[in-house]
């Protein structure tokens, strides 16, 4: 069964550094998402992406965050200048048609030192 894959599984970064989290969505999917889960808290929506542009974004997704689909297979989340509070598990998800369920990757654990 096709899967969403995320790399790396764990990323350790110094505060203030830029980080890029990578995702390969399921190949024929059209809608792409990033979520995050701070330890002990709910899974929170960050951003959705369709037709090469952001469809929706949450209050968390401020100017420090950006997303990109640089080619036909990758979907990336960039945090420009990381803060301690960015430490979390970041999940990528994709779906085919808009009404279809989202399929999640295994996540990238981001640790900011």
């Amino acid at each position: 069964e096709p899967e969403v894959t995320q790399t790396p599984s764990h990323q350790v970064t110094q505060m203030g550094q830029e980080v890029i989290l990578r995702c390969v969505p399921i190949s024929n999917h059209l809608y792409f998402y990033w979520y995050r889960q701070i330890l002990g808290q709910k899974v929170e929506f960050l951003v959705s992406f369709y037709n090469n542009e952001i469809s929706e974004k949450s209050e968390i997704f401020d100017d420090q965050f950006s997303v990109e689909r640089p080619d036909g297979s990758n979907f990336t989340l960039k945090i420009r200048s990381t803060k301690l509070e960015d430490s979390a598990m970041y999940f990528c998800a994709s779906s085919g048609q808009i009404e279809q369920p989202q399929h999640f990757g295994d996540g990238t654990r981001l640790s900011i030192l």
């Binding site: 995320q6 899974v43 989202q102």
Partner: protein, 115 residues
């Protein structure tokens, strides 16, 4: 705005006993409802979904959930649990309007099946 409440953060249950994990939602518009399961060190896996039609939906591994519009609930049940069902379970909702379908998650319920 929509929200999801999972009242039980921890549910311990003995093997082969029945279990119910509760989920209530609030939304001003019609919604789709989902249950996702997260095993240790893994991502979120779709367990079952309610999009339309029959209010009782079933998964391949014996779980079922019933959409109750009047009570705004989508409780997850299994008549007999196995050790392998130990995991965290998340209820999620998405609205039917807009150009994308962001999921709003509950806080999760840790199901622990005891031998």
């Amino acid at each position: 705005a929509q929200s999801v409440t999972q009242l039980d953060s921890q549910v311990p249950v003995f093997e082969e006993a029945p279990v119910e994990l509760r989920c209530n939602y609030s939304s001003s518009v019609s919604v789709y409802l989902f249950w996702y399961v997260q095993y240790p060190n893994q991502g979120l896996q779709l367990l079952l979904k309610y999009l339309s039609g029959s209010t009782l939906v079933e998964s391949i591994n014996g779980f079922e959930a019933e959409f109750n519009k009047s009570q705004t609930s989508f409780h997850l049940r299994k008549p007999s649990v196995h050790i392998s069902d130990t995991a965290e379970y998340f209820c999620a909702v998405t609205h039917l309007r807009g150009s994308a379908r962001q999921l709003t998650f509950g806080s999760g319920t840790q199901l622990t099946v005891l031998p």
